[in-house]
């Protein structure tokens, strides 16, 4: 287990370093920082002075190491526009983003896992067909469009739910439902295939042959194994939800990190964009690392193979 953990950790660190280099490169590709920092009317001498003040006249690898060194200490840099610390900006808003992402994940799981199980047990029945239709629908519908349609139906026509802002829990319902539709299909498909594979396996036949009750076979024996890939997917999806909430937060005017990223992209505030990019990637890397460890713990074949 320790060997597996160490090897997996080394890969995670390498990936994190690469992502931070990509983030850094993106910032540099966005334009000459010294010109932006010095302001519109700066003379060449002033620009040079600004470059020197912020250390922008040093070689790029040194600048990267300097930035990465501060990143490791939790210093994500400052916004070019408001001069606030990016770590503060993210800390202020991450709650809203998580407040949409976690309910979305729960809604998706609560619908997709039972649906996928029934679809697997009754293959080619109407339930199976419905489940497949739900998956195709969720996979194909453009999220931003679904959000607008939901706003129109539930916010404007029926007037049941608020459509903009994040002041009450009710404000989180429509955004969470919209995101849930997007993450649901892979869970449904994975539960269905997982259950079909497991139900055809020898040990389930043995369980039936021993005369175990259906509930015990299904939940104690079958689901336990079919659920493994779901754990990994949940981790990946949470990473996706953190990064993919840009559109949803923008449409529903939620003040989360997705909205912050979008606004920063629009005003070329790249230190913020870069920090959010690295932050979301790190969340993803940590989540997949944890899910890999859980899977390795549950399934010895993974850690020994």
């Amino acid at each position: 287990m320790l060997r597996f953990f160490v090897r997996r950790l080394i890969i995670a660190v390498l990936v994190a370093i690469t992502v931070s280099i990509i983030g850094f490169a993106l910032l540099r590709a966005s334009g000459n920082l010294a010109v932006i920092l010095a302001g519109d009317r700066a003379t060449p001498a002033e620009i040079a002075a600004t470059a020197h003040k912020y250390g922008l006249d040093r070689p790029l690898p040194i600048q990267y190491l300097d930035w990465a060194g501060r990143l490791v200490q939790g210093d994500f840099g400052r916004s070019l526009f408001t001069d606030e610390k990016v770590s503060d900006l993210i800390a202020e808003r991450i709650g809203v983003t998580i407040g949409v992402a976690i309910p979305a994940l729960i809604i998706a799981l609560v619908i997709s896992v039972p649906l996928g199980m029934v679809a697997a047990l009754r293959a080619n029945s109407w339930v199976d067909r419905t489940a497949l239709a739900v998956a195709v629908f969720g996979q194909a519908i453009p999220l931003f469009w679904l959000a607008l349609v939901l706003i129109f139906v539930f916010g404007v026509m029926l007037r049941w739910l608020p459509i903009s802002g994040s002041s009450t829990p009710a404000h989180f319902i429509l955004p969470s439902v919209t995101l849930a539709v997007a993450v649901l299909p892979p869970f449904m498909r994975l539960t269905r295939t997982g259950m079909i594979d497991v139900m055809n396996s020898d040990y389930i036949r043995t369980a039936w042959a021993k005369g175990l009750k259906p509930g015990r076979v299904l939940f104690k024996h079958a689901l336990r194994n079919a659920i493994l890939p779901i754990v990994s997917l949940a981790a990946v999806s949470l990473g996706f939800l953190l990064g993919g909430s840009v559109v949803i937060e923008t449409i529903f005017a939620l003040n989360g990190i997705g909205q912050l990223a979008y606004q920063s992209i629009l005003r070329v505030d790249f230190p913020v964009v870069q920090a959010i990019l690295v932050f979301v990637s790190l969340c993803y890397i940590v989540l997949t690392l944890i899910s890999d460890l859980i899977n390795a713990k549950l399934d010895p074949r993974i850690r020994l193979g």
């Binding site: 890969i11 390498l14 990936v15 994190a16 690469t18 992502v19 990509i22 993106l26 590709a29 966005s30 195709v136 629908f137 996979q139 194909a140 519908i141 453009p142 999220l143 931003f144 469009w145 607008l148 349609v149 129109f152 404007v156 498909r189 994975l190 269905r192 295939t193 990946v236 990473g239 996706f240 953190l242 990064g243 993919g244 840009v246 559109v247 923008t250 990223a261 979008y262 992209i265 629009l266 070329v268 790249f270 964009v273 959010i276 990019l277 979301v280 990637s281 993803y284 890397i285 997949t288």
Partner: protein, 312 residues
């Protein structure tokens, strides 16, 4: 140089039965089996028909569009579609906020979505398959590099990076194709890598090697044809993903730029009027939805027909 063992590779699993003398009735060739399955597959037929129609609309847009999709006529702003209260047959889908014929813009919109989707999927297909096949075939440290690259790619939040790159290199069709192509090759790599791992120890690869084929020849002439079906399945799903993300970028104002008639951009422009002219967002959204459903069903169908055991 002939490769007589091609038929018994995993791609030709039905060919194996043909070689068995115990079969007295001549069995169907793999192609015939697939054709039979395809004819009975509703999803595949629906997907192929719709995608075919949209492609025809895109190609013949100049002949089909009743008006110039860019021509503004401010006296004819926000005319309702033909089924609306004041609709006319002159503008079947009505007009937008600049008085441009909406049907014509929808028709030209098919061009943009399909072009971006097709070429982005092609780009990521080439990148991903090349990486996946090389890693899976060679194994060892080359494979470790490929796995590492896949991990880096997966860790990047795709929409965020696409938005940021689009401000840096611009929102032309070509830059969107490149951005999406370089951001969505992971699934190709994952699928082709595991297939190459399964295939590299099979007999027809050993035979090719024994016949003196070089590594490049083995990868391109032996491995690639045998994974092509699965690559096509991934390509269709990836094309749908690329079209959807391009629409998101355009909707957020960082993809296709005005005045181009892109469906995502049209939804963004229609948003200001959505509460009293809902058709402005319903029509392009439906077009996008139907196209994405069709591509997904086509992909699922191709997989059911070529490898039914892979249905998930």
């Amino acid at each position: 140089m002939t490769m007589p063992v091609m038929e018994t590779g995993p791609g030709g699993r039905f060919g194996a039965a043909a070689a068995d003398p115990a079969f007295e009735v001549a069995p169907l060739s793999p192609r015939q089996v697939m054709l039979r399955r395809a004819r009975g597959h509703v999803g595949l037929i629906f997907g192929a028909t719709v995608l075919g129609l949209v492609t025809l609309v895109a190609i013949f847009a100049p002949y089909l569009a009743p008006a110039d999709p860019y021509a503004q006529e401010l006296s004819k702003r926000l005319i309702e579609p033909v089924w609306g209260a004041h609709g006319t047959w002159q503008h079947v889908f009505g007009t937008d906020g600049y008085g441009r014929d909406y049907l014509s813009r929808m028709i030209y919109g098919a061009r943009i979505s399909l072009t971006i989707g097709f070429f982005a999927a092609l780009t990521s297909g080439i990148i991903g398959s090349a990486l996946g096949l090389t890693g899976g075939y060679f194994g060892g440290w080359i494979d470790s590099v490929v796995v590492y690259l896949i991990n880096v790619k997966l860790a990047l939040p795709i929409i965020l990076v696409a938005l940021a790159l689009s401000t840096v290199i611009g929102g032309s069709t070509l830059s969107l194709i490149l951005i999406l192509g370089f951001l969505s090759w992971d699934r190709f790599a994952v699928v082709t890598r595991s297939l190459a791992q399964q295939l590299r120890s099979s007999e027809f690869i050993a035979a090719a090697r024994a016949a003196g084929a070089g590594q490049g020849r083995i990868i391109f002439r032996e491995l690639l044809p045998n994974v092509l079906n699965q690559v096509i399945v991934v390509a269709s799903l990836d094309m749908a993903l690329d079209i959807a993300i391009a629409a998101v970028l355009s909707f957020l104002g960082l993809g296709v730029r005005p005045p181009n008639p892109d469906w995502g951009l049209m939804i963004a422009e229609g948003r200001a009027y959505m509460f009293f002219k809902p058709y402005l967002i319903v029509l392009p959204g439906l077009a996008l939805f139907v196209l994405l459903v069709a591509i997904n069903m086509l992909g699922d169908g191709v997989r059911d027909v070529t490898a039914p055991e892979g249905r998930s």
